[in-house]
Amino acid sequence: MNESSATPRSMDSGLRGMVGDWSSDQRAFKSAGWDKSMMWLFLLSDIFIFGIFLLGYMAARTSAVEPWPDTSSVFAMHMFGREVPLLLIAIMTFILISSSGTMALAVKYGYEKNRRMTAILLISTALLGATFVGMQAFEWTKLILEGVRPWANPFGAEQFGATFFMITGFHGTHVTIGVIFLLIMTGKVLRGSLEYERPGFMTKRRSRYGMIEVMGLYWHFVDLVWVFIFAFFYLW
């Protein structure tokens, strides 16, 4: 091996770097370990799942003969003596954004090996996520009591019920799973498993603070999906 190959071209940036990385006969993703790469690959598949859901929703909505219900009034709440449009959904949006913020900070403090701050921020993220799911349960209950079903809808097109329960249900499941993993991760941080690199009970891989970043990717993705649901389903 000569000296020039010791500094491979793959460490260039941009497009040239990409070609170098992919043709380097080694790992293609040099800025990410296997855990992060695999999480991104999983999220990519999830992007397609939610993408197809939203496309299916678009197809159902544009081909519905009956008028689509006015989401603004369906999701309105009676507050301050008048109907406030989409109030609950707006609050849910802000809660989820806040949880994304605390998650981002948890990753940062994790890499700084600040156990206390990381745990506080992780548990805040979990609490905000649980609040979101709680409000979603409240919203579902309200709609079900008003007679909305996956196969029926008193406000107009039946397809509204089907797409609403499927899309928000699938998203809510993601949030719930995220909350569970956040709580597990909080426990690991508090016990110092990450700091002392103890092996995980299932994979036996050594714990590292990078795990919080990978967990964070999942959580931000959940927020990301909500951005699209909020725009296409509630506001459109």
Binding site: S31, G33, M58, T62, S72, G101, K108, H220, A231
Partner: protein, 105 residues
């Protein structure tokens, strides 16, 4: 080695993005509150949505700091969804026209 690479960025970046996400969400909520309609509303909703998604992916998910070989794998494939969008749109337009013709006509 990259296996142990970390992502450390100043606190201010996160708060800045956090703040903008709030502002943009208020913006898209306002399109409903002040009852904007049709193209103006759809344009604004889509614009705010894309900027929010971009901010989350770029900063919170650290994509601006990743190497291009990873970023392109995440950004490029979903573009295929736009093709599906076009196909679905054409298909559903046909469906609605035939439904109106045969069920309501």
């Amino acid at each position: 080695m990259s296996e142990h690479e970390t992502q450390q960025h100043p606190l201010g970046v996160y708060f800045w993005v956090w703040g903008w996400l709030f502002v943009l969400s208020v913006g898209s909520y306002l399109t409903d509150v002040i009852s904007m309609h049709d193209y103006l509303r759809w344009t604004l909703i889509t614009l705010f949505m894309l900027v929010k998604a971009g901010l989350i992916m770029a900063v919170f998910m650290h994509l601006v700091w990743e190497r291009f070989s990873l970023t392109i794998v995440i950004i490029a494939p979903p573009a295929v969804l736009l093709v599906a969008l076009a196909i679905f749109a054409i298909e559903s337009r046909y469906t609605i026209s035939s439904r109106i013709q045969h069920f309501l006509g």
